[in-house]
Structures are given as C-alpha cells and as structure tokens.
C-alpha cells in the first residue's frame, strides 16, 4: 500500500507545472479509420495527434484547409466536432531485447497477455535508411535450414530476399523455417560459449492475416522453442487499415535497434501485398490521386523506403545487420503484376514458389529458373560453396531436358545421366515443414550426392535415404560434420572421414 502512495507522490513531484501549448483542430469528417480535421495549423507530417477517449492518430495528409489523419484505435466513440490535439511527437514504438518472446500490435502495445513491456527505449516508426558510407557488402550467410534455398539461392545477413508465389505454396513456411533455424543456431552458439558467435534475432510481421493463422504460427514457434528469439508484430485482417499500414514500419524500427547496436536481426513481412492494399484503402479515403490498379502514385516508395532500411553495416557503424524476407502473393503465378514487379526490383533476389511443383509434392516448391539471389555464393560457407556450386545448373538443365524428354523415347547416355541426376536432386531437396537442417549436415548430404552415393538408390527412395543419412550424420557420423561446423571448410581429411561415414551409412541403409 505504501509503495502505491510513494509512487503517486513521486509522480506528483515529477509532474510539470509549466503551462502547456498545443495546437488544436476539430473533426469535420470521420470514415473508415480516417478523420479529416480542420485546424491543426502547426501539425507536422507523420506527427501523432490525440483524439478524445485516448485514441491516437497520425497526420498523413497536410492540405490547405484540413489535415487527413489515420486513426489507431477504436473510433466508435469519436464524432464530428470533437477536438484533436497535436502531441509534438512522431509515432514511436518500444525497442530492445525486452520485446523478444512477445506479441505486439502495430504501435508496440503487448497483445499476448504477458503484461507490460519493460523497455525504456523507443525508436520512431519512420526513419531514414542507412546511407552509402555506413554500409558494407553482404558476405556472411544467414542459414535458412532449407536445402533448396541455402544451396541455390543463398541468403546473406543484411540482404533483402523476396519470397513470392501464389496462395498456399509454402511462402510463410519458408519464413517460419528460417526463424526456427535461427533459434536452433542461436541455442547451439550460446551453448558453445564462442565469444565471436552472433545470434540472429527475429521479427515476424503478420499483416492482414487471419487471427487463427497468427495463433498457429505462434504455436509452431513455441513448440520449436524459437519464441524466445522472436518478436511478433500483428496487424490482423480485422485490424483497421492504419494499423496494417504501420505494422511493417514498426517491426522494422524494432529490427533497426538490433542492427544499430551491433547485432544481427531478421525481419519477415508477411505479406506486403496486403500492406499495399491497406495503403491503397487509406489513400483512397484520403482522396489522394490514384494510378494503376487504383494504387496511389507513391506505392513504390511505400515499399522501397521500408526495405532500404535493411542493411549490413560496416565495422565503424557497429557491424550489425538487418535481413529482410518480404513476402508477396501473386495471382495465378503472374510475377508481372504491379506490386510484385515493384518489390522484385527493390529486393536483392527472390525465391519463387510454383503451384505446379507444390501440387506435384515437391516441397519447398522453389522454381529454379525464376529464383535468384543477387548476393550469390558470397553468402555461403566455403565448404557449402564447394559442394553446391553446380547444383543450380544441374537442376535447371534437368527441368529443361525433362520437358523435352517427354517427346523422345530413345535418349542418349549423357541425357539419361543428367535426367537421372536431376531427379535425384529434386528428391533430395524435398523437405518437411518446420524441420530445418543444419548447414554441416546439408553440406555432407550434398557431398554425398556429388560423389555418387545416391546413384545406386532408386529415385523413389531418395527422400527416405536422405532422411536416414541426416539422422546418421546427427548421431553416429557426427565427426566430419563437426569439423565442417568448426572450420567452415571441407578439407581433404574431412572429405575422407565423410567418405567412410557415408560408406558406413550405406551399408546400414536398406
């Protein structure tokens, strides 16, 4: 009881007794989470404004006679004629490690019922992206744990890699797998006590999704023990468009804190198509001129200013990084849509997921021809680079030959060999959801494929054999994998150990 009294006394003592000066206006129209306000002559662009009943808004449209504000809360009590006040502050969200393991809304308020967030730090939601001087080229890998991705479209820390595909092709699964893999690597690294180990913290921005989907994602992360390294920013489909518009920027501010404090972070925007739709809705209500597909003219800038904030900083700027995995949903596999082409041109590559491959049971359904990473092998460890160098070419050749071979009954030996190898690689890349594979095991499996260990196994048994090999390498055949993990290289001695381990495994595999 006395502590409450002390707290009240302390707050009263600290309370400012100075006169306050505010700039006010009145609501003239109110619709769909957007208010037109008359007055507010001194309001700043993107300034937080205060409506009655503790509802906050952001001044987005500064016009000659009025100010267009998006509202961030329950607007049911507001009415025409209500007074609106400026706050003199730009919209900020809490940042820091206190947010890890928490689920927050678009303005950083906890929505997981785990109490308040113990963080004194806050970052403005809208910030200028790092310039040229503090940046460094991407050269450190960010392992997704997905063989098809890590081998053919490697992602580096600080890269922006788009995940694109139709609905239900496994886009979110790739992102969640990556987050789970980071948590696994973080735990392994922390356990090893390596002082140079750099954990990757993750932020997952759920945009315009069903609450049940968000709950399923949280459950998957909790079950895999990944939640302690993750912050979830949720702006579900039922949320107002203003929150859906803000959520990616809020998540980005949270990620920037890690980057600017010399740490590594990964942010997933799931998905930016819905973000563009929310922004279109706001813009139309604000009566901004509309362009192609009724999107406003600055829809490119909407995403470019967000994704440019992901970067790899140099040593002088703290050596931190923020990797972005934006997700875009295409319609009928059309990558030439307005928003997909915008985001493709902004990012450093894309992982394209094909519906046909998905329906054939090839999961993850990564399209070899359309997927690319502009960072390339610079974001792979040396050992992996050695074994995965040719795989993308082999697979691309296989897809092309497979299409032609349908018309040809008598194939030459070389074509048959290529088709055979390709079919085995396709089977090798098949991987279940939420089951990332460590990079050293991936290297060993790929090495086995390159050195013909799978050639005598029937194609339909390849997936089973790869699973069996993965298990063997995690238990009995650990040694060569540990060497790869520690050195990052594939020395001749390691290759010999790997050969004998794979021979041992093959004897046991039936």
């Amino acid at each position: 009881m006395s502590s409450i009294t002390d707290l009240i006394r302390k707050e009263i003592e600290n309370l400012s007794t100075d006169a306050t000066r505010t700039n006010v206006g009145t609501i003239t129209t109110l619709a769909d989470g957007v208010a037109k306000v008359e007055g507010l002559s001194k309001v700043m662009f993107n300034e937080m404004v205060e409506f009655p009943y503790n509802v906050l808004g952001i001044a987005l449209n500064l016009e000659e006679d009025s100010v267009g504000c998006v509202l961030l809360g329950d607007t049911s009590s507001l009415k025409e004629g209500d007074e609106v006040r400026t706050t003199g502050k730009l919209l900020s969200v809490p940042v820091g490690k206190a947010l890890l393991g928490r689920v927050v809304d678009a303005v950083g308020r906890p929505i997981d019922g785990k109490g308040t967030i113990d963080s004194d730090l806050s970052f403005p939601v809208e910030r200028i992206a790092p310039g040229i001087i503090p940046r460094k080229s991407v050269d450190q890998p960010l392992q997704t744990g997905i063989m098809a991705v890590d081998s053919m479209v490697p992602i580096g820390r600080g890269q922006r890699e788009l995940i694109i595909g139709d609905r239900s092709t496994g886009k979110t699964t790739i992102a969640i797998d990556t987050i789970i893999n980071q948590a696994k690597i973080n735990k392994q690294g922390e356990k090893s006590g390596d002082p140079d180990f750099r954990p990757v913290y993750c932020i997952y921005v759920a945009l315009g999704q069903k609450n049940s989907n968000v709950a399923r994602t949280i459950k998957a992360l909790e079950e895999k023990g990944a939640m302690e390294y993750v912050t979830i920013v949720s702006a579900p489909a039922a949320d107002n468009p203003a929150n859906q518009y803000l959520a990616p920027y809020s998540g980005c501010a949270m990620g920037e804190w890690f980057m600017e404090n010399g740490m590594d972070a990964l942010i997933v925007y799931d998905d930016l198509s819905k973000h563009a739709v929310a922004y279109r809705q706001i813009s139309l209500i604000l009566k901004r001129p509309s362009g192609r597909e009724a999107y406003p003219g600055d829809v490119f800038y909407l995403h470019s200013r967000l994704l440019e904030r992901s970067a790899r900083l140099n040593e002088d700027s703290g050596n931190g990084s923020l990797t972005a995995l934006p997700i875009i949903e295409t319609q009928m596999g059309d990558v030439s849509g307005y928003i997909p082409t915008n985001v493709i041109s902004i990012t450093d590559g894309q992982i394209f997921l094909e519906t046909d491959l998905f329906n054939k049971g090839i999961k993850p359904a990564v399209s070899v021809g359309l997927s690319v990473s502009r960072v390339g092998s610079a974001a792979q460890i040396k050992a992996y680079k050695k074994v995965a160098g040719k795989v993308k070419l082999e697979l691309a050749q296989f897809r092309e030959l497979a299409a032609f071979s349908q018309f040809e009954s008598d194939l030459d030996a070389s074509t048959k060999a290529r088709l055979d190898r390709g079919a085995r690689i396709v089977e090798m890349f098949k991987q279940g959801a939420y089951n990332p594979v460590p990079v050293e095991v991936q290297t060993a499996v790929m090495w086995g494929m390159q050195n013909d260990f799978f050639d005598s196994i029937a194609v339909e048994d390849i997936t089973r054999s790869v699973d069996s090999l993965k298990e063997y390498l995690s238990t009995q055949g650990k040694e060569p994998c540990e060497e790869i993990y520690n050195s990052g290289k594939l020395e001749e001695s390691t290759e010999q150990k790997l050969r004998s381990a794979l021979e041992d495994w093959k004897r046991t595999f039936s």
Partner: protein, 132 residues
Amino acid sequence: MSSTIKQRRLAKSLLQLSLSDDGRIERDSVKEILESLLVSRPSGLVTVLRLFLHQIRRHEYTYHARVEYGGKEGEKLSEKILEKLNQNSSKALDLTVIDNPKLIAGCKIRLGDDVYENSISDRLNKLQKTFF
C-alpha cells in the same frame, strides 16, 4: 455538402478582400462583397457563401482570444493576459473572458488553433496519463 477547389479558392479570395490593413475583418467590405455576389450569382452560390462564412469565423479566431478561467483570481488576470498577448501579436487582439469551473483553478487561452493552458484540471489529466 461538398465543395469544389474553385469554390474554396473563391471563398479564400473573398476573405482576403474583406480584411482591413491591420488584418481584421471589415464589416463594410463584407457587406459590399455579399451585395456583389448576390448580383453576379456565381455557380454554387450557397456553397460559396457557406465557405465564406466559415473562413470569416476561422479568421476571427486568429485575433479573438478566448480566455477561460477557474477560481476567484481568474477575472483579474484578464487585463494582464490581454496585454501579454498583444505584445506577442502583430494584430490588435480582442478578448472574451469566460468562467469555467471545470478548470478548478488557473486559465486556458485559445487564440486561433493554439491553446495555452495552465490549470489544475490540465495537471490532473497529465497525472492520469502517467498512470495509465
């Protein structure tokens, strides 16, 4: 009733014509403008008149300060407040003083879109925000 950009611009220019050299609304000028409008009858006259009235009211707020006070000493402060406001303004200001018991003590001045407040009710509101 919605208005067009042209109507809003016309209302604004009519306001400029209604101002005297010291930036205050001149009744005679307004009367003349209204008479000429009734003769020329531009399209959307009713809307233009409504917008013109709105502009006049808003402009009046820029030199008409409204002082609300709470407590016994409030009324005595009005002259001092007017003097201070006039020092900081390029226009000669008017003052309306209103007793507002909701403020408990202190005063609240509104001039144009700016509100200056130092009252007990404002401090209590601030205190409430620190707790919730």
